[in-house]
Amino acid sequence: MLFSEPRQAEGSWVSSPSRLAITLPYYYETRFSMFRILKQSLRTGVVTEAAPSHNDAELERLGIEVRRHIDARFGGSLAIRQVDAGSCNGCELEIHALNNPFYDVERFGIHFVASPRHADVLLVTGPVSRHMETALRRTWRATPSPKFVIAAGSCACDGGEIGVSYASCGTIENVIPVDVKIPGCPPSPVDLLKGLLGALEIDR
């Protein structure tokens, strides 16, 4: 009903000559775009970068205690449920960037999941808007223990430009317990990666 004419269903190779005339260009077209894709992919090569250094002061600050805690309980793999509790969507853009080929966080065993019930970690952004307050609490309750909460972004860490008001509860800490804070407006993917890697302590 919605689709354009079903081109794949146009017929098989062994159809009548007139059918073949319709099918052939389609076949070559497909082959041709496949070549174009391969060409583009090969020309691009691998852009993924080495993980940022673990030894800098920022990771120290994130706390060796938290790291040990996670290592013991999550066995080197981390499932993250991201929750926007009232952000301006700037943080979401940078969290998205973690999945781009430059950062490619899945190689560290970090992946984003679709349900809090599958998650080890809640990665929460934004000040908590009052309209999201109950939704955030419920998401937190739906996450199985042991769990921990990362507050990402200035608003999440200290209220940022928004703060506390009739519409906003302010920091994440005002609503649910927070284990790690990653400040920045928004934090860059490297900041996020450092925070996450620091939490996980991946030995390479």
Binding site: S4, A97, M132, G160, A167, C185
Partner: protein, 540 residues
Amino acid sequence: MSRFDWLSEYLARLEDDHLIARHGDNRALAPAHRLELDAEDWGPAGRIAAAMGLRHAGVWADPLGPGPMESDTEIEGPAIRVQACLEQGGDYLILQTLVSQARPVLGSHTPAYPGVDRLERHAQDLTGVRFLRHPDERRWTRHQAWSADDYPLRADFPIEGRSAGRTPADVDYPFTRIQGSGVYEIPVGPVHAGIIEPGHFRFQAAGEDVLRLEERLGYVHRGIEKIAVGRDPQGLIRLAGRVSGDSTVAYAWAAAQAMERAAGCAPPPRATSLRALLAERERIANHLGDIGAICNDVGFAFAHVQCARLREQWQRRSAALFGHRLMMDTLVPGGVAYGLSETGFRELRLDHAALHKTIEPLFDVIDDHPSLDDRLIGTGILAQADARALGCTGYVGKASGLDFDVRRDSPYAPYDQVRVEVPEETAGDVAARVRVRMKEVRASLWMLDRLLDALPEGEIAVPFPRPEEGAMGLGLIEGWRGEILCFVRFAEEGRIARYFPRDPSWFTWPALERLIHGNIVPDFPVCNKSVNGSYAGVDL
């Protein structure tokens, strides 16, 4: 052709209906023309505008606080000024009227303009202006954080609110339901299964087909309009840059433009060129990300990875040259915060050439790939009539045959000096929206080089003079999503008394409800992504 050739006809039609329209001071909200109406004429004036085919660009209410602001009014006690913006052919008209805060009642524009439905309900929830004959009496922005008889934007409402306890979920919002054999309901959100903003979607479906989609937003209402009050110009630009983070440059520019018009301040030519440079960079970054994401939603990972890579490189250059990956806080009142060095200039040139070279084969694949065509062509069709009725701008309007673009049709510096190519498609489906966005990437890239060619020398900022008390300004900027409107009024000592930004998504969210109709539930993500409304931008 002389500008504004429709205004005299509009005035004549108002007169035919015995509506009294007084001309306001046209300098106050330039480039818009201003008409002052009696409150009882508000609804009919909207109906007449709709009959003439004018586009409604939004409505907002401005509680003027205690004390009569206008000497020639008969209103006693605090008043609320309501303003609406109409547009045709690039000419803007502001209708305004005053109502008393004690009995703030106006005729609704929604029966004639379905696109302003939620804007009127937003104004009602935040200022208490009641719109009579509005077809939908439900709350919109208000959930449970304040009560039905409280209005946060009024001066007597404390910024910290009146309830200190936990805010319950808004569970008893009365969604429209469809009854019938085999009809079922799918509630989605507010916490979505991805890295997305929160909002609630209520589908009524039969089998795979969507019979009805109803959106319920307001979850990220952060009280932007309230916390803007009392800020200084610099503080407002910082806040404006965080209304919708993906449009930070466009919002900051709209706020800066409104404040500069209110203060009679002209930013230097180099500053406006650099602002345009930043805004076009923002457009390209977002289009690249979304084109990839749309392809990803139909399982074409190749384009997603390629676009994400290009976007990342683009953002890194922004960070290196303008101090921020999303270019936040790059604008200041009166100019821009970052200049462009000789090296930066050369790097941009090389970047533009490199991106141009990469996107051609990539867009070639996206434009003409059988598996993409099968999923995107004919999916999520927004009819031109619907787009026009709702007042859609940006790529949503352009893909449905409405080629309005503020940069071309009501040009602001520096777009009055550079040719703006506005792509137009007529199919109105997801594929058309993708094609428009690919064309916009190309056009912006071309424009970036023209801006560099003609980059004026000189200052990048001028001192921002303190605006008079009561000074108002209107900002109109073509953001990457479409036309952003921004209203600013100043209080004493150059402080902000009212800030209202109107995101283009106010009109494209209802378009999504229409274009999903008859599509299958699994195609919702790609339809949604192709429209990509801002949640934060409309929840405020």
